[in-house]
Symmetry: C2
Subunit: 101 residues, 2 copies
Amino acid sequence: MVTLVNCFEVPAGREEEFFSMWQQVNTYMHGKKGYLEHKLHRSLAPDARFRFINVACWASQADFDAAHDDGFRALVTKPEWSAFRPFPSLYEVVHEGKAGS
Amino acid sequence: MVTLVNCFEVPAGREEEFFSMWQQVNTYMHGKKGYLEHKLHRSLAPDARFRFINVACWASQADFDAAHDDGFRALVTKPEWSAFRPFPSLYEVVHEGKAGS
């Protein structure tokens, strides 16, 4: 399993526009082989460096790479995306814990 | 519930040093009221902008704030931390999904 963490810079006041654009991509990726789950986070503070952060789990890096196909590129090259800067990378979990453990 | 997402810039080759410093803080915070769970992520690519990202759930923002006490500050003001730049913010989950749903 691999985890995509994608941190987004979103100008103040453009959160709804971002969310609409992000949902188009998310809906597309949801149907791809290897997609497991995601959580989109919005900062409590409106002036956080990264207003939104998506954390998405995929079965493998190969599935993740294959999902970024022409359909994906057609969505993320829409001019509306130019206002929203993403910082995506793939991660593995190297340490975890829970309360009481 | 609130989620801390803390993205770390870590110079190449200093991952073990970062991890050791981070574990000191994590062990301290693990025992605090309101700490629920955490996952520390390390990038697959060694040159990712954020080499490590910690995602930690807390019962409330009040618990989170109270946990950042003198003991916490004593740990994160150690000079060794100056090499590792954190980008911490609190988040709420605004959209989530799973495969097959």
